[in-house]
């Protein structure tokens, strides 16, 4: 199923337009023309990798051979089924994550995008991101993904130090990474993101800042800084447990993070989320949807989604997860059209808790307007305005509550998880004490 050349070219060209529009809209999110329930972001999970990285506990598999035709057909089927169930008519972003989705064929990516556009509408200016490892794609291959409709690349560069890359179990070198980055920028100017990790075992602040500065000279307009989380079940976790590797020092990681944010701010980057930095308005609209609690569909093994199954007559937002193991997932998709393993309806309070916890990760935080979309009765002032504990956080300069809304200060953002331990119970309390709203009809 080849994609008509004109449409693919159309997407590539639309990327520029899309970018310009984002400049204008900034963090206000995307089109508000259609009602929120008819819009969604789409996540596509490609579960395969060449090799297991020592730090990764994602749902991924290192197979002997992949039946890509079957995988492609199942992804297409599941996209069609879930789009129908959700009643979504407009897909505003697509994100191919994994695993290593750049190992998939461009034709698979094209087939999914084509199916999405047919089942719903995929506007030409939609953000379509592909995660790529510095090793897998050659320049020609990246171009082929571009032709298939991808208009943004996220490169898992992780480090510019070969010893660290080895420690992480990556198959690429720092040289490979910079080469891939240069190639990607040539093909997707202004639309390339890179990941850099911090807080690795034995990593020191000075050399890490050196890496960041070097990267600043080579990178595009988007950068993510991720502190290493030692996840149970990974090789790195075991090594640290056994004492063969030193445990990462949280003090040093905190220092890297603070220094890194400052360096990026000076370089003109806006920290629009805890770990994400952009300049020239190059925010990722797909990820923005997560933090704004917009609807998203997840397809592929183990993918998560959150949407109202309106197409099936539902009115409640559900958290959904697809079957983890690829072979089982495929069997289910072939039998039922989708591999949804769990559906958990989200109550109103749970949704508000997510609005709070996710929204505060962003620099704009939760605007009054945004909050009101989810909870028209109980304002942010009602919930947090009178709490002594919240007042203490405001007085400490960690949190701001004003005419714009509720958000973290620069210092507060780095300790958000501690702030939430005060804010979440306060929200629960306010929710329980609220005067019941009049019964809504229909």
């Amino acid at each position: 199923m080849a994609l008509p050349g004109t449409r693919a070219r159309g997407w590539a060209a639309a990327a520029k337009i899309a970018q310009r529009r984002r400049h204008a809209e900034g963090a206000r999110g995307s089109s508000s023309r259609a009602p929120p329930s008819s819009r969604a972001a789409l996540y596509v999970h490609w579960p395969y990798c060449e090799k297991r990285c020592s730090y990764c506990n994602f749902n991924k598999y290192v197979p002997c051979g992949v039946d890509e035709a079957a995988m492609r057909s199942c992804l297409v089927t599941e996209a069609q089924t879930l789009l129908r169930l959700s009643g979504v008519r407009r897909v505003e972003s697509v994100f191919f994550g994994g695993g290593t989705p750049s190992l998939a064929s461009p034709s698979t990516v094209a087939a999914v995008l084509e199916a999405v556009d047919q089942a719903a509408h995929l506007p030409a200016d939609s953000e379509v991101t592909l995660e790529a490892n510095p090793t897998s794609p050659s320049g020609a291959r990246l171009a082929a993904f571009g032709a298939a409709g991808v208009n943004r690349l996220s490169i898992g560069l992780q480090s510019l130090d070969d010893t660290e890359l080895q420690l992480l179990g990556r198959t690429h070198s720092a040289r490979d990474a910079l080469q891939t980055l240069a190639e990607a920028r040539r093909l997707f100017p202004g639309r390339v993101s890179v990941d850099l990790m911090l807080g690795l075992p034995a990593q020191q602040v000075g050399p890490w800042l050196g890496q960041l500065r070097m990267l600043l000279g080579r990178c595009d307009d988007h950068l993510s800084l991720y502190q290493l989380t030692l996840e149970r079940g990974t090789a790195l976790f075991t090594q640290v447990q056994r004492g063969t590797l030193p445990a990462p020092d949280p003090e040093l990681a905190a220092e890297m993070y603070q220094e890194g944010r400052a360096v990026l701010r000076e370089a003109g980057f806006r920290q629009y989320e805890v770990s994400n930095f952009a300049r020239n308005g190059a925010l990722s609209t797909h990820n923005w949807t997560y933090w704004q609690c917009g609807q998203y569909l997840g397809i592929g093994p183990g993918a998560h989604g959150r949407f109202v199954p309106q197409g099936a007559g539902g009115h409640t937002r559900e958290a959904r997860i697809q079957t983890l193991e690829p072979d089982n997932w495929m069997k289910e998709v072939m039998l039922f059209g989708h591999g949804t393993r769990r559906r958990v309806p989200l109550g109103q309070l749970e949704l508000l808790e997510e609005v709070l916890a996710m929204g505060l990760r962003t620099d704009v935080g939760i605007t009054h307007q945004h909050w009101q979309q989810f909870e028209p009765q109980l304002s942010l002032w009602d919930v947090f305005g009178a709490s002594q504990e919240v007042k203490a956080l405001l007085a400490q300069g960690l949190l701001l509550l004003d005419h714009r809304g509720l958000r973290c200060s620069w210092e507060g953002l780095a300790v958000l998880d501690s702030l939430l331990l005060t804010l979440l119970p306060r929200l629960q309390e306010a929710w329980q004490q609220r005067t019941p709203s009049p019964v809504q009809g229909g």
Binding site: L228, T229, R306, E350, S418, L424, P425
Partner: protein
């Protein structure tokens, strides 16, 4: 622990048994059965007899006084007493041999987890020897010095004891029976030819122990024909059946339906059930003079079954047996519910536990910061920990415990205070009530006479440890070629927390320790406060000797630093005497605490984690605006450094 022998009202005989420790450690080694033949045969006969017997109520009248032996096993902690008890139970068919019996008599979770006996247990063994059917009542007793009160109670129901001596203090080294024989001769005046060498783990020679119990321990001197005289030597509380009193019959007979009177309360009860313990309750028709068992008589109130009480029949009053000297608490600590709404639940849990452990004293107490609670007196720190653990495990109660303190005294000089207390010399069991120096002539601290027996290679280290604990040497003698017995006068507060552990660790487990009360001595005492950002931590108020205030204060601050989680602001931890700060540590503020990656697939997991943490936060104790986990203070109290 030797001291309980002869300490109570008991005047019987001691048999010595020694065990090689390799044979009773709790390792998973194959358990060998002793040689077959005569011994095995008699065992089979026993088992057939007793299992057939159990189908119906046992007729206890068959066991005349001369065929009854009541005995305890006395041993140092960890010398294999419970393992020997397991073997004796197996050998007499009381418990099935095929099962993996480990510490059968240790019923409490805390006992099995810690490998110690806390609560004495009774088991009636039926044993056939030379054609005669014997009733052997074994009363298993705790081995730790904290629980000597339990031991003295058990001994009052016995006519003899088995003294178990480990011929090898710790495992893996060579057992040395010859040296132990000499020591026993020297310390206890027990001739070496009266010792039986056994391995409880392997079962070697255990049968001979039973024969020796029959030959050497006298039957109780009692009479069935006399009016009933029963001693309550222990009691347990059952939620459904009320109080179960363990009794030893000194005279007479008791059966179901009898009316009995408590000499202590003068209340009359009707006996609903009598029986023997083997080790679970086994109803019988009657219990006869010389026998040991239990009775249930509708005692519902925890105060009704006084340990040491005498029971008799309404028309036949008897001279009550002398009561026990009540246990003397050595360590006091405040106990408060974490949440005041839990007060009533905790109250009932404490009441139920104290009927099973009457050595705990209970006074109501309250504090501004901690609310309503109690000040409890314990026999020692292990006793306190065990009590706390039982509250948690058996009653699901969660409590705040304050720093343990010993009962200090103050001689008052202030006329106003003397009037208030109505006496000149007061005992202080709560550091919060420690009177200021200006109102006091002198302070007194309790002292004990400690006895340490150690291989001489550790003498130097032991003496240094004792010196560091402000102890004064009273005596030192060699009890054999390479063992030294040291006697020291210790301030009690220097040994309550961790002295025993330190002694054990510096002597590779070889040194033993026992102590007895030695009155009071004057002492230069001060009250030390611990502050978090200037807020007093009530749990950690401590009375210390002036010379030790700095060391102790510094150690507490350092350990608090390690157990306090970071918060959004810096925490100053200070130790203060009055307004003078003597030590300080700082916990830095959190600089980063936020999940790095939070995308579509991470949200559910993150929200779950946040909610769990927020829920946990509600259970934290707040001091000022500082949140302190419940175990932070316990961690601080548990490990004292020894240099």
């Amino acid at each position: 622990m030797w001291t309980p022998v002869g300490r109570g009202r008991w005047h019987g005989r001691a048999l010595t048994v020694w065990a090689t420790s390799a044979a009773h450690r709790g390792r998973l080694e194959p358990r060998l059965t002793p040689s077959r033949g005569a011994a095995a045969k008699s065992r089979t006969a026993d088992r057939l007899y007793s299992s057939a017997d159990r189908k119906e109520k046992i007729d206890m009248s068959r066991f005349s006084v001369e065929n009854i032996r009541n005995f305890s096993i006395i041993a140092h902690v960890d010398h294999g007493k419970s393992t020997l008890a397991d073997r004796l139970l197996e050998l007499t068919g009381t418990i099935d041999k095929t099962k993996n019996n480990k510490q059968v008599l240790d019923k409490l979770q805390v006992e099995r987890e810690r490998g110690i006996t806390v609560k004495a247990q009774t088991a009636s063994l039926f044993y056939n020897c030379e054609g005669k059917q014997y009733l052997l009542n074994l009363i298993d007793t705790p081995g730790h010095v904290d629980f000597s009160y339990e031991v003295s109670r058990s001994l009052s129901a016995c006519q003899g004891v088995l003294l178990v001596v480990d011929a090898n203090e710790i495992d893996l080294k060579n057992a040395d029976p010859a040296r132990v024989e000499k020591q026993i001769e020297k310390v206890f005046d027990i001739p070496s030819d009266e010792c039986i060498k056994i391995s409880a783990k392997l079962g070697t020679n255990v049968e001979r122990v039973l024969q020796a119990v029959i030959e050497r321990i006298p039957p109780p001197k009692v009479h069935r024909k006399n009016p009933l005289k029963a001693l309550v030597f222990d009691s347990t509380f059952d939620q459904y059946r009320g109080v179960i009193a363990n009794v030893a019959l000194f005279d007479g007979v008791v059966s179901k339906g009898d009316k009995i009177i408590s000499a202590h309360t003068k209340k009359t009860y009707e006996v609903n059930e009598v029986g023997v313990l083997n080790p679970n309750e086994q109803p019988t028709h009657k219990l006869y003079a010389g026998q040991v068992g239990y009775l249930i008589a509708g005692m519902k109130d925890v105060t009704e079954a006084q340990i040491g009480d005498t029971l008799y029949l309404p028309k036949q009053p008897v001279e009550p047996l002398p009561g026990f000297k009540s246990a003397k608490p050595m360590v006091f600590a405040g106990m408060y519910p974490i949440d005041q709404s839990e007060y009533n639940n905790l109250k009932s849990a404490v009441e139920k536990l104290t009927i099973n452990d009457s050595s705990v004293t209970v006074h109501r107490d309250s504090s501004l910061a901690l609310g309503a609670g109690w000040r409890l007196g314990f026999l020692g720190l292990l006793h306190m920990e065990v009590f706390n653990q039982r509250l948690e495990q058996e009653y699901n109660a969660s409590v705040i415990l304050t720093t343990p303190t010993v009962p200090y005294k103050a001689v008052l000089s202030s006329a106003k205070l003397i009037k208030e207390y109505r006496e000149k010399e007061i005992t202080i069991i709560n550091p919060a009530q420690f009177p200021d120096k200006s109102k006091v002539t002198e302070y007194l601290e309790p002292v004990i006479l400690g006895t340490i027996i150690t291989p001489d290679e550790y003498t130097g280290k032991v003496m240094m440890l004792c010196q560091a604990r402000r102890a004064v040497q009273k005596n030192m003698m060699y009890i054999d070629q390479n063992r030294v017995m040291l006697k020291y006068l210790f301030p009690l507060n220097e040994i309550v927390v961790d002295f025993y552990d330190s002694l054990k660790s510096l002597s590779s487990g070889y040194a033993s320790f026992d102590y007895e009360d030695a009155g009071y001595q004057t002492a230069d005492l001060v009250k030390m406060d611990i502050l978090l950002n200037g807020n007093l931590v009530e749990e950690l108020v401590t009375i210390v000797h002036k010379d030790k205030a700095h060391t102790v204060g510094k150690a507490i601050c350092e350990r608090l630093k390690d157990s306090l989680p970071r918060q959004l602001f810096e925490i100053a931890i200070q130790a203060a005497i009055g307004s003078k700060i003597i030590a300080r540590e700082t916990v830095k503020a959190y600089r980063k605490n936020v999940l790095a990656k939070c995308y579509g697939g991470d949200i559910t997991r993150k929200m779950k984690l946040l909610k769990r943490q927020a829920e946990g936060k509600k259970k934290l104790r707040k001091i000022g605006n500082i949140e302190v986990p419940k175990d932070a203070f316990i961690k601080v109290l548990r490990t004292q450094p020894d240099k």
